[in-house]
Symmetry: C2
Subunit: 400 residues, 2 copies
């Protein structure tokens, strides 16, 4: 237990907080910042001046406010100048984007690929190639303040080492380190599990803004989870927290890629859905899932039954998570958006019978607001986290 | 997002942190406090002087240190003067204690009672009666700085309202408010779920000191859970977080008091154990559980089988929690100490087959270090939390 912060630490914290306000809330008047941060006008002026000098924000007169009197200056993030590189490595596609302070995607590259084993060197080369294409086009005064990647697998949070990614045929690879080397920008690459970053994205910019306790479930081949506890992303001891896809909901049930049986992802994943619908050998992925949901909607009994069965296990899993976390909201992302929309009645019914009244009385079940970009947006937020924690330190380190 | 703390807030934080050091660590030299808190000697002196003037600590010369030079003064908590009232309402017993700053139990009263429905008025009268007996005997200069209760049920954290306590026949009772009124000491009574407070106790004073991610499982009639996430007790949206006893581990399994089936507490609770062992109609409670474990140890096949079955479900539940939380330690408390000790091999084996390698590689499974007092110790810590957060404010409010 340490003592409270020093004056210098408080200044850094306040600079970061002000920057976070304009990063997340967009252009904000000085008066509003004064109000939201609980500081006086002169302190806000001084902080803004420091951030302006560092090139992170600029101030300008607002458009006609319609009110009498001198208008308060508006503080804007320098979105075109300050950016991060955000990457998203999923089972079916790989995305790279240049995301400006404030959250706008300035540029992006994407490639799909067939399912199967990834080669680490190829993957890293693809991502670094995209990054080079995008950074080559930037103006001379732009500055990259961070890089981060959402990865479909279990990632050690200390160093971005990928421990397991069975759906991508990767295991024990120093992914963050390799990508950082290949980028050759002198930047470390923070790596996070895709569902963890999806949770972060929905919490900061999506359907869960303002919720302090949120469960995000991300469906791809498997099912990942990201949990926000009291406003903070839960990582557990080493960063593997949130692997709710391997919660056993049906002991002795369908075999899972992890070696166990009856895991949530084995019972609810796309393979379970397609097999229950009698569609053996059909292409997996989003299209296959969508076809089942559409056919069920059109009256296909087998498709309806498949959604019913999968919805039952999904509901049981959600009920367990509601009892465990007493969350304000559960968000369905990735392919689970389709599955949830196709089985919502079943899921809700199972949640109602399987969770305590007190634990679910204020609960909302919702689909992701950020859609397919949730994980990429989360990666960008992870990339920005350092500059938002200590803006001047990061710029000084970069030599700005 | 608010700005950093003011100078006055930092001073209050530092006073609280210093007090917490001697409360949890016992008498500590000024030199050691300087070191641990990262403050200079003169600041530590000033903080100690304030806490001494408030009657919360005193300074004295250490016993012979065996070293040359002027010894650093030792700061001690005023354990005999400053105390909280801690209560523990379980299914089989009710405890009240006077606990001094520093954690020593100065006085205690306890009564057992038969299982069945509680009457709120009787319960509150019993607890307040115990409190009166204990406070009547105190010296004139003692001061009660807080009161808190561990309760075997679901408690809303904002006001200590008990939402559900099926094993005690209580539902929707304003327990905290009624106890506070009956105590008539002008103090609110904070109320927490017993397993939540057991987790807090093991984290601050038990087997989990220093662990930032801990799962505590408490067995009584049911099974409660308390989870420490990144050093903080997880409450969820309204305080009902951690109800892992109602995680469904065996869909369609044994009926549970909550109305669902196959909940962890239905499959692992004392009733399941005794029935699997063929002991229908035998007295429940700790003695019944102990008898099964002892008989299994002595070679009783049915008792061994019962422990094996119960251990299997307990292991599956723990495996799920390990995947979800990636904890450093899982602690078994209450009656689960006996059950875990009697089925440890089975539990470990199930955890190994049901959880991801990365999530369990540094995992420790342990029994509670505080034993039957874990929940009471947790209540005392909850009672002390206000004075540790802001020592002078609490004393000023009490008129000291």
């Amino acid at each position: 237990m340490r003592a409270g912060p020093s004056q210098e630490e408080i200044r850094r914290h306040n600079l970061g907080t002000l920057l976070r306000h304009v990063h997340l809330g967009g252009p904000t008047s000085r008066a509003e910042l004064t109000n939201r941060m609980g500081l006086n006008r002169s302190t806000i002026m001084a902080l803004t001046a420091d951030l302006t000098a560092a090139g992170l924000v600029r101030e300008e007169l607002p458009k006609d406010t319609g009110r009498a009197g001198r208008p308060s200056l508006v503080v804007r993030p320098e979105s075109a100048r300050v950016y991060v590189l955000a990457f998203d490595v999923g089972v079916d596609r790989v995305v790279a984007a240049r995301v400006g302070l404030g959250g706008a995607v300035l540029d992006r590259r994407e490639t799909t690929h067939a399912r199967g084993s990834f080669d680490l060197a190829d993957l890293v080369a693809t991502l670094a190639g995209f990054a080079r294409q995008m950074t080559r086009k930037t103006r001379a005064d732009t500055v990259c303040v961070g890089a981060a990647c959402a990865f479909s697998g279990g990632v050690r949070h200390s160093d971005g080492y990928v421990r397991f990614a069975p759906n991508m045929g990767l295991e024990d690879v120093p992914f963050g380190e390799e990508l950082s080397k290949k980028l050759a920008m002198g930047l470390p690459v923070a790596v996070g599990n895709e569902a963890n970053l999806g949770a972060l994205a929905e919490h900061t910019r999506g359907i869960g803004v303002g919720c302090r306790d949120l469960v995000y479930l991300h469906g791809e081949v498997g099912i990942g989870g990201g949990i926000i506890v009291n406003g903070q992303l839960m990582g557990g001891m080493s960063g593997y927290g949130g692997e709710v896809g391997h919660m056993i909901v049906n002991p002795g049930g369908r075999p899972c890629a992890c070696g166990s049986r009856g895991c949530l992802e084995a019972e609810v994943g796309e393979r379970a859905l397609l097999e229950h619908a009698g569609r053996y050998g059909e292409p997996l992925g989003r299209d296959g899932v969508r076809a089942v949901v559409e056919d069920a909607d059109a009256g296909d009994i087998m498709a309806q039954d498949a959604l019913h069965r999968v919805g039952n296990w999904l509901g049981l899993g959600v009920a367990n998570l509601v009892n465990i976390f007493n969350p304000e909201i559960v968000v369905f992302g990735g392919m689970l958006r389709e599955i949830y929309l196709g089985s919502a009645a079943q899921v809700r019914s199972r949640v109602n019978t399987g969770s305590l009244i007190a634990s679910r009385e204020h609960l909302r079940l919702r689909i992701s607001a950020l859609g397919d970009d949730a994980t990429l947006v989360g990666a960008a937020e992870l990339g920005f986290s350092q500059v938002l924690d200590d803006p001047l330190e990061v710029l000084a380190r970069l030599g700005n």
